[in-house]
Symmetry: D2
Subunit: 343 residues, 4 copies
């Protein structure tokens, strides 16, 4: 069999581990051939390919990023996209496609399979851990470890100067990274997109922490919003050097508000891209490797239109349709559980 | 309510995170009092106690080890053990006990509860991850990360000298650390206690790796045994400086056998205690914290004789009896899955 | 003898290691007493003190920040500052003062000693490594390691998306952190405050890197400036939520310029406070410990008005006056040496 | 010009960084050609070569080990060794040789240059930091960081069980790694090869530490010896599985002695090969890179028979003869300085 592989969406530690596992198992156990499509769906769309055999996957297990490149190209929005993909697959004699990506990438895979009969198997990838069909996605544990280590570091600098440190972490729609790293890092306030926050309540937690002679750490997901948000945030907007209006990030905005309302010095750190780069944690390498092995098994067993997923300690298969149906957000009860550490 | 807390068995990153979560929640949400018993069951047995309030748990979240100390004391094997424990609890007006430990510690808790009516709640702890009632125990992820990082380092030194590196990791009865770190570290052979290994087969994998111009890493759990083991291992025994007969570890023994049979240079690294010390990974801090919160909730809800456990992403309660019934070992199918990377 | 200790200026990994070494040596070898002044010069100015003996310094070696707190208070600018400090020292029967800090803190120590006869010994501290009298200051190696690890991580995410990543590191007046972390991290462009940069030249290096099918990393010190800087930067200013005019950081500005001029996607990461927090590297712990031991020896030998310094592998003493005379910046020749890696 | 490069002796983090810097500067600034000799002096001896250009050195900066391989082959002890090397160099039209290695490798380079007119430049490499002509060698800082991190981890496990932990680190003839990591890790006893130790004195320090309710860490260099050493160590010898007599390591032996003499539980961790593998620290990457640049400059300037060296923050040139004349050991005064932390 000849199998195509592609990686789409934002990069994520563990992508290379998936690719390696797929190829190693396919070649050694089944004598399959592989072809890499470059930069996500741009690859089959434009016929951009690269060799993919045992030599290409050597040594890539511990490396972040993806040797196949990535993009956010959506072939369903391109003129004649589906036909061009079919031609690409035919030209390269590809029997099946393994698509590794998030909601968008897998949504395309689902449509290509369900509506157009292209034989696709999905591997879920989202650093934000917000896919509902799987307990965890790889990359998330790495991001949480990086954010936790940063919070560990910020504690000592906060204490030395008795100032508030606001740490902005990834998470546009789901607060998993903020929740996990905030709990693991001993944050004094954790703010997530799922729950609008009250700046005065945040200031209350911050102040009570100072009362105990400790300096507070506030972890805020980039997508978190204040209760009376839009209006206030608009005031924090500015024109950039091209004349475009930009919003300051919520972290910077919040530090300014805390400083203004409590009189305490506050600083912001925006962790940004370091959360998604570099070598994967052991857990992410293990999960990505197992995802790869089971994705190959799904192709081999003819289970197209499915995606691999983690349930407890097992890798299972779920329909692609189910996988992309609903965003997995932080439940209110779980967020409530964390509040015992606030203040 | 006045709640006693103790930690028993080998130390494990995350113990302090459990203690902190228990106390934070107990004091802030319920106004409970706490008392720490020192060194596992030795504490209530001998009346060795320490204060345990908010000040005592400050800053301990990221610290390895246990502020309460630990021991392997088994009060059921001590003369009058149960009576002395009851007196201790009475004297300190302890209403309930939270016991954090492995099979032995929890086994005592179960007996004290089931047979003697002492109100106990358990928190499972085993760095080897071999308790069957929970998906994971804290400490395991930290150990796997440390072992994986060591394997990463050993790859480059193996390649530079084209020699075999044997890495002996923890795991007397279960090979979880070997399996996970071996997969995550890209090992070329993984040996676990669950499957006796054939030295010649190991040598075959090692040789084939050299054939591909790469130097092999062999990860071996300390409890792994060769097929014709006992006889051979006896030859590797020696008298120590006190005249006692000692077995060389399996790692050292295996390196010697590989060297002898293949003619390739082989070296051993025994990771030892570094695997169980130091700051917990983010996952372990999160798991230990949630275990602590739910153990307190179990006490508060009167669910004595139970233990907290992880199932998927949920914390659940299981009877202590169930928790200690069966060792969780690496299933043959899972080990088989990993073999695609051997050689 | 009774010795006062204070830490001033920005916090820095290694401060606690200095304090510990001073106290351990003073108590064990000389039976001295110690008193901690809180928050830099604010301590003696306002009589804010804390106990400082063996128990206080236990376990602080690996901890970032400073147990004494810090501030930027300058007593020479306070009404009656010198007299109040003298009264504080007299009241607490302090025979000598060890001041740990940067240019400002040590400048005060020098004035207090030279002009007012207060017995001071200095320990140099600047995370930017810009004090001319010493080869290195502690904290710098830690910051460089953190920045390098971040750059390592950013490489993989840059490659996956073929985008430019601009990393803004600390260094307002001296580019040491940028130069060292840029060299160690394999950056493709390094920009320092000592040399105004030409944006078009930067874009040239960036473009040539893409030509070789690799994605570029640009490391820029926060104090680096473009050749035609002021004018352009003014356009990037914005009003914050309080109505104050603020400059965007040079990192963000540069990424926008690169994107505009080359058409390549560019992103910025501002490392910020994580560079100065958390556990010190082994080198910094070693250097800070030796600085502490030798500062105590200087007090003991009556070498007041001096500061400890590193020369090669030796700790020496230099006059405080010399120590604070001149900023140590990156020499042009050294910067030139690094350029072989640009592009 | 056509320049040969080889790496000899034990591997060491930073070797690849040297190779990369040499090639980058040689190709970009001078248009030189390069050829890699494989496995140290075995390469030119047996004519084992590999291509070495910009593509070969891409991405190797952060990787441990050496892409050229290494060995301990000494061509001066091989029949006709010098002639065969000369023929190899002639055959491959090599104008000059850059030899990266320790005492042995550089000693050969010196003889080849001084006695046989072969144009050699040396780059010093020893993870033990025991070359007298340079302040530091690359690899050392990485090893010290790894050992320090291990000691950090072992503290918490020692405290939890109130047991002694003996950590055996590298250093056969010089105690630099033990001294630096012991100081940085807050060890309670540090033992180096330069000073024979008195086991009873060690036991005294260990016991006094327990008196203060803390558990001690003993860092011992692999080459450290007790005062009455040989006799006692002989008793600890054993026959291995091939019938050869082997000495237990000093770490294991010392733990047994401490246990026997003090009655306290003691455990050993032998760090072994993890100290020399894996990614170099930022300092080592910086030092190795600068060594590489200056070695190329030495070749270019015709300064054969010299070696690059670090003096303070400068890279200088010293004659190869001087470089290999004398082992740099820990001075007695420096060891004495550390003793304030013992016990």
């Amino acid at each position: 069999m000849r199998i195509g592989v592609l990686t789409g969406g934002g990069d994520c530690p563990g992508l290379n581990a998936v690719i390696r596992a797929v190829v190693r198992k396919g070649v050694q156990d089944h004598d399959h051939d592989f072809i890499g499509f470059k930069d996500g769906w741009r690859g089959p769309l434009q016929g951009a390919v690269t060799e993919l055999g045992i030599p290409a996957v050597r040594g890539i297990l511990p490396r972040g990023g993806t040797i196949l490149g990535s993009s956010r190209t959506n072939p369903l929005k391109e003129p004649d996209g589906v036909r061009r993909i079919k031609e690409s697959l035919a030209k390269h004699e590809v029997d099946a496609l393994i698509a590794i990506g998030g909601e968008d990438t897998l949504g395309v895979a689902r449509r290509l399979h369900d509506d157009h009969g292209i034989r696709c198997v999905g591997v879920p990838k989202t650093i934000d851990n917000d896919l509902s069909a799987t307990d965890y996605t790889f990359g998330f544990d790495t991001a949480v470890n990086i954010a936790t280590e940063a919070i560990d570091r910020l504690h000592t600098t906060a204490e030395s100067h008795m100032r508030v440190l606001v740490v902005e972490v990834m998470g546009r729609h789901a607060g998993w990274i903020a929740l996990h790293s905030g709990l693991a890092g001993g944050a004094n306030v954790i703010l997530v997109p799922e729950q609008r926050f009250d700046v005065d309540e945040v200031c209350g937690w911050v102040t009570s922490r100072f009362g105990a002679s400790y300096a507070p750490i506030v972890v805020v997901a980039e997508g978190a919003m204040p209760q009376d948000g839009d209006l206030v945030l608009k005031n924090a907007s500015h024109r950039d050097s091209f004349g475009h209006v930009r919003l300051s990030g919520v972290g910077e905005w919040l530090a300014e508000e805390i400083e203004r309302r409590t009189g305490k010095e506050a600083r912001t750190t925006v962790l940004g891209h370091v959360q998604r780069g570099g070598t994967p944690s052991a857990f992410d390498r293990w999960l990505a490797t197992r995802f790869g092995l089971h994705a190959l098994a799904a192709v081999d067993g003819g289970h197209f239109g499915t995606m691999v997923a983690l349930r407890g300690t097992d890798i299972v298969r779920v329909p692609l349709a189910e996988a992309t149906a609903r965003l997995k957000t932080v439940p209110a009860a779980l967020y409530e559980e964390a509040k015992v550490f606030f203040g």
